[in-house]
């Protein structure tokens, strides 16, 4: 399986091409985000409905990690 190189919270990783950002974050066991009252949250619905998996992707905040596939050079920041 071919891989792409991405960065999650400054750490460089090679992950399988085609997986979503959500899957990539889970593979390195990073937290996803904090809720408005500060609780840890992670993907819940897996299909873009619940917005629990939002992270910053290539500088744009509040992106749904379960809806976007990894791309070469992608920069992901979690736990905003």
């Amino acid at each position: 399986m071919s891989t792409v190189r991405i960065e999650i919270d400054g750490e460089t990783l090679d992950v399988p091409a085609g997986i979503t950002v959500a899957a990539a974050i889970a593979r390195v066991e990073r937290p996803f985000r904090r809720s408005v009252k500060g609780h840890a949250r992670a993907p819940f619905c897996g299909m873009g409905i619940c917005f629990e998996c939002r992270v910053r992707i290539n500088g744009v905040a509040q992106q749904r990690a379960c809806m976007i596939a990894v791309h070469e050079g992608m920069q992901v920041v979690t736990d905003d």
């Binding site: 996803f32 993907p43 819940f44 619905c45 299909m47 917005f51 509040q62 809806m67 596939a69």
Partner: protein, 428 residues
């Protein structure tokens, strides 16, 4: 400028694909779009390791490669105005118009609150299946699947295929009910075959009926779950809990277009006639959005809608099959009706609105969604009430309300400019 098509199909699951295939076969120029990056919808979601199911792959290839078809992946419908849809994808916004529109927007999971349901490690049942197919790591993880309906078996099969150690499947319906349902399956031989093959693949995985996950526990991630069943209350460790109580039609676009609705339990679905026509001229609907019916039903209705949208003739046998498929759905609903106990799992501090962290306690004084929202922020978050509003409707508190544009969170550029493309740049 607005792009015009003979037929626009929203949703690329079985209903949308069948509609596209039928419309293309009758010479129409078709645009089909989906918020997901690949076609297939949820039931035929492409697995990054294993691809599409063979049946889905054939039709997806046919439709994708057809000269008269324009495939718009990762495309969200933002607003609907005067027979035009405003769309956006990752990089641009544009408008399309149509002679006929087919709504095949499918369903989402019915996700109901219980103590601990916000912990990382807890997902929907279909949610876990979708995540597994996206490459979510499950190898060696201890997974529990719970909720209701035949979907749980399919989720268990996917999890197992991805190397999960499935500790058990917990079905809320009683053993007697599930047994009676299985006895009836001979009326739908296809379904019986699916069930048998699923059970074979799930050999060795406990299937417990009359059992409800009442609590998830853990510090910042799931560690322990509590199950209440015929054997009493049990607690055990697991890494991943997937809970789904059925499906809810995605009617937001249909609502914006003014299509008449009917109710299945607490949740609206689109009202259609035998030709899948909605109450709005030139707008058709097919599949789960017309009431939860399963993918066979969705396929047949998509085909009918695609034929109707191109004024092609529709055979009586197709209509008969569709009717038969709908009776299966009705049986499913009857046998897997939710135990009222499930409506009562939340405690006063259980969060109901996950976006805004609103606990059940805060909602006690309100009997109307708008009042509750103004006073507590319940439903004001990014999911636009899809999770909490649907749950509160199911729990019998108050119906979901306040559906307004945009249909999903939308880039301001999309709403603010007739033609927009996304400029690069970083926003804190």
């Amino acid at each position: 400028m607005t792009e015009h098509y003979d037929v626009v199909i929203v949703g690329a699951g079985p209903a949308g694909l069948a509609a596209a295939e039928a419309a293309l076969a009758h010479g129409a120029r078709v645009a089909w779009l989906d918020a997901q990056a690949t076609a297939g919808g949820q039931v035929w979601r492409r697995d990054v390791e294993h691809g599409w199911p063979p049946r889905a792959q054939r039709v997806i290839e046919y439709v994708t490669q057809h000269a008269n078809a324009t495939w718009m992946p990762q495309t969200q419908v933002v607003t609907a105005e005067a027979s035009e849809l405003l769309l956006q994808n990752e990089s641009r916004a544009w408008r399309i118009s149509y002679d006929a529109l087919v709504l095949a927007t499918g369903a989402r999971e019915l996700l109901l609150p219980f103590p601990g349901w916000t912990l990382p490690g807890v997902t929907g049942a279909g949610g876990l299946q979708a995540l597994a197919k996206q490459g979510w790591p499950l190898a060696g993880r201890r997974v529990v699947i719970a909720g209701s309906g035949p979907l749980l078996l399919a989720v268990a099969a996917t999890a197992k295929r991805h190397g999960a150690h499935v500790l058990g499947i917990y079905e809320q319906a009683s053993a007697a009910t599930v047994h009676n349902f299985a006895q009836k399956l001979w009326r739908w031989p296809g379904k019986a075959l699916q069930a048998v093959s699923l059970r074979a693949r799930l050999a060795g995985i406990p299937y417990r009926c009359g059992s409800i996950v009442t609590r998830a526990l853990g510090d910042s991630t799931l560690q322990l779950i509590e199950v209440d069943g015929p054997r009493g209350v049990e607690r055990f460790e697991c890494d991943q809990l997937a809970v789904g109580y059925g499906l809810v039609p995605n009617v937001e676009l249909a609502h914006a277009l003014g299509c008449a609705m009917k109710y299945e339990g607490a949740h609206p679905c689109i009202e259609v006639d035998a030709m899948q026509c909605t109450s709005v001229p030139h707008i058709y609907a097919a599949g789960e959005v017309c009431g939860i019916g399963g993918h066979d039903c969705a396929w047949l209705e998509g085909r009918i809608a695609g034929l109707a949208a191109t004024n092609a003739s529709i055979g009586a046998s197709l209509l008969r099959k569709q009717h038969h498929a709908r009776t299966f759905a009705a049986a499913l609903r009857e046998y897997f009706a939710l135990d009222p106990y499930i409506h009562d799992l939340s405690e006063p501090d259980t969060l109901i609105c996950r976006c805004e962290d609103v606990p059940l306690r805060a909602l006690e004084d309100y009997d109307d969604a708008r009042n509750a929202k103004l006073a507590t922020r319940c439903g004001m978050g990014a999911c636009q009430g899809r999770v909490c509003g649907t749950a509160l409707a199911e729990l019998g508190r108050f119906p979901r309300s306040g559906l307004r544009p945009p249909l999903f969170p939308t880039r301001l550029a999309t709403l603010g400019e007739l033609h927009s493309s996304c400029s690069q740049g970083s926003i804190p």
